[in-house]
Structure formats: C-alpha cells, structure tokens
Symmetry: C2
Subunit: 113 residues, 2 copies
Amino acid sequence: MAIRNELFKGTLQTIILNLLEENGRMYGYEITQKVKTITQGDLLLKEGALYPALHKLEAEGLLETMVEVVDNRVRKYYLLSEEGKTEVVSKLQEAREFINNLQLLLNLKPQLK
Amino acid sequence: MAIRNELFKGTLQTIILNLLEENGRMYGYEITQKVKTITQGDLLLKEGALYPALHKLEAEGLLETMVEVVDNRVRKYYLLSEEGKTEVVSKLQEAREFINNLQLLLNLKPQLK
DNA sequence: TTTATATACCTAAGAAAATTATGTATATAA
DNA sequence: TTATATACATAATTTTCTTAGGTATATAAA
C-alpha cells in the first residue's frame, strides 16, 4: 500500500468506505490522489491494492458503480449502497477501538481523553 | 490475530518490540496474556501469529533469547538486542505517524493536539 | 481417576491482503 | 517523440495472519 508502511494492512476497506461517505461518489484514481493529499504523501495507495479492494466491496454489495466518460477517458464512479452506509458506521467504530487498543499497547495514549 | 480484527495486520512486530522495551524480558505465553489484559480481551494474540513473529524478529537480530525451566516447564524468554533497542524507537515513530494518518483519513482526529 | 483448564512451546496448510510488475489507452507538456 | 498525468485492470508473488493440529506438565473439578 505504501512506501514503508506495512502498518496500513487491513485498514484499506475502512479508508475507502469513509472517503466515499465523506465525498459522495469517487472514482479510483481520485481516491489515490485524495489519500496522497490527506496524508501529505506519506501514504501512497497502490492501484494493485485499490482496484481489487473496490471490486471486492462491490461484490459484497457495499458499493455501487456508474461509468462516465470525461475527456474521452472512462471513469468508474463508486458510491456507498444502503448496505454500505450501514457498514461504514460499524467499520468506523471498529477503527476507533483498534486505534485505542493500539495506543494502549504502544504507550501512545493521546494527551486528552 | 484476533476475534474480528483484521485491522491489526502489520502491527504485531511493533507491539512485541514495545512490550519488551516496557517489561524487559518476556516469554511467549506471557506476551499473549499481557496483550489480552491491556486490551481487556479485545485482542487475542494467537500463538500461530506470535511464535513465527518472535522467530522472525530473532532471526533479524532484533531479539535475543534465554531458556529457563520453571515448575518443570520450559520458558523461552525474549529480550531486545542492542539493534532491537534502536529499532523499537523508529518503529514507534512510524506507528505514531500511522495512527495520525489513519485518524486523518477516517476523520477521527482526537479532541486535543 | 479421568477430564478440563491453564501453562508453555511449536509448525503446517490455507486464506487474505498487500506489493510488484505488467498491460491498455488518452491527453498534455517538454 | 518522449515523459508525465490521467484512468482502468489483472497476474504472480510475498507477507502475514487464521485455523488446526501436535507435544508436554500442573492443577482443579467431576
């Protein structure tokens, strides 16, 4: 997924679902750029990781797609299905617990609360 | 690694190294119990994940071992090598950046700082 | 006494999720 | 015409985990 960050293994689905919840529909390339911008280049989301993940989420019924042509190039937009909207909520809750547990295990508790 | 937590993939090495830095020498079973206690049972570190990880860290020269017999049972203690003590510092720094980036990507920034 | 649970180590087969390396194609800047 | 950016995709491999099994001792319960 990234330059020197095997830590992100397992978090990709949650990241994708949350970005789609925040931004409405997005296409694959747009997601890679968004991740790069948000993390200031720390995290480079590889296509070999992203596309299979998107296809899997779609196959599971969490995402829906619509294809459009812009500037003679095909874009495949992804958006949350109703099921996906439900799923992102529980995935985010799990992520909160994950971060909390990881901070406990690594003695990295934040300064407040 | 856990009940329903594929999120922890990739974080195991860092967790092990940090626990050994905090507690000095530890043996495998002790590590599994420590993780269980700290996370209040949220994270169950499986032996099939732990032992190969310990062996790998030892093979990489980050850990040293000493075997002792207690109550007729063999314990294999692990402790940080000099190289391991250096490595744990950078691994923790990476973990801080990882958590920060993940919180940014998931809109989970902590209340303070 | 035998069974279950806790302690303590280990590995092998398989699954899941990533990296690396490709491939196709268009648009634009050098 | 070459490189870079945009935009999709997959195949082979690697890494890392789960699941499932194995060995062995100590102790509590049935």
